[in-house]
Symmetry: C2
Subunit: 272 residues, 2 copies
Amino acid sequence: MLKRTVFFISDGTAITAETLGHSLLTQFAGLSINQIRVPFVDNKVKVRKVIKAAEQAALSDQHPPVIFNTIVDQELSGMLAEANGHIIDLFGMFMGPLEQALGVKRSPLVGMAHGMHDIASYEHRMEATNYALTHDDGMSIRFADAELILVGVSRSGKTPTCLYMALHFGVRAANYPLTDDDLDDGRLPACLRKHKKKLYGLTITPERLAEIRETRRPESRYASARQCRYEVATAEALLRGEGVSIISTTHASIEEIASRILNDLGLQKQLF
Amino acid sequence: MLKRTVFFISDGTAITAETLGHSLLTQFAGLSINQIRVPFVDNKVKVRKVIKAAEQAALSDQHPPVIFNTIVDQELSGMLAEANGHIIDLFGMFMGPLEQALGVKRSPLVGMAHGMHDIASYEHRMEATNYALTHDDGMSIRFADAELILVGVSRSGKTPTCLYMALHFGVRAANYPLTDDDLDDGRLPACLRKHKKKLYGLTITPERLAEIRETRRPESRYASARQCRYEVATAEALLRGEGVSIISTTHASIEEIASRILNDLGLQKQLF
């Protein structure tokens, strides 16, 4: 396989550069890509280090590296342009078109992308994360303040999905694990019935569930193929019978699941 | 203030478009920007809805909206180009330069950016998230498997930072709250002493800490200015005395804190 090195360079966290870079690079199959994030490149010494690392990558790959640059400071950004690599200057490429589209000039500021420029929204995320933690796994079943409640069998992916939605979208996401009693009952437990509009079901294939549970409690009844098949089939029937939407987590990432659920429930939330 | 509407349109989660868009828009102060994310735009009916929404935004803002487009499908992307708005086509702008830089042609695939194209890395994140949850707030003090351990007084920001690092970077991040006993002792508790290289301290101004604690336990000793001042000063002295790096969470976002700590501890982790 061809080897390539891709740098994500920023005077902030480099998270924007890396997020975009990852997306773009998924479109290139068949390359062995070494991705290197270098945050907080905010002085000349650090820029020189990056230039040196780029030189080494060019030698070892026998191909110049790609350098995604989101350095706001124009002098440092200019220095980096001397590196032996293909520079893709994110701000440079977009600022012109964006100024034109918005009809105003920009006012350059460093480290704003993932900084604390909006303290209210930041506190909102923290509050939502605390909510998700205290309303995880049936710990609290008082759901009046929940914006949504994920329902599913144990290990279907409820906890990470709730945490992701809280941290990124500031959503107060609770979750409730369907217990054996609930499954035997064949209907939603009382604590969920009055919040039907906030419910969303997570499901998973019994095979995948058994794999996940096996790593937690090896050779247990809990992880057995039979038990997993029973729980998944019964939970899906229960949720369908109650008219609750279901999404499978087997082949979906947290980002996809979160985005889909918020969209389906009509929760227009901004990514923080 | 001038009103503008910005759409983030994708046939996937739209997270890439929104992340980049947010970063770019922080450079424009003095605008009132309504940001609308529309994920999963994967058929003509949905594209037509977006075109209609753009038309309405143009009317109400008296200025055409900006439309960040990451639709991979070329027919749908072409339809969207008819909208009354300034289209910024992320893939279109980058693919040419990137193909040239990498020296290979791309192989277009939808929804890969935040999808499950790398199941091993996904499982790694889930495993790390479980680790963070079970090693939160001193719940477990067996830190042999931890890649890093955050230390600080109660409510200094340890939990959300650990969860963020686990979900995004797949880092097994534990945390330990410094108790009154630890502070009185004036040195690291035994469980941390042998893991010194993994430690990183979080601190916060006493004023901010008191505010945060006040919302949890109003008018308590725990939330009093005096107690917060004592705990912060003592914890900082203890950590400094032990040679543990400290970062203040008062004016930093989770993304900044996480990025900084991983960088300082030399944990070269990829953003998932």
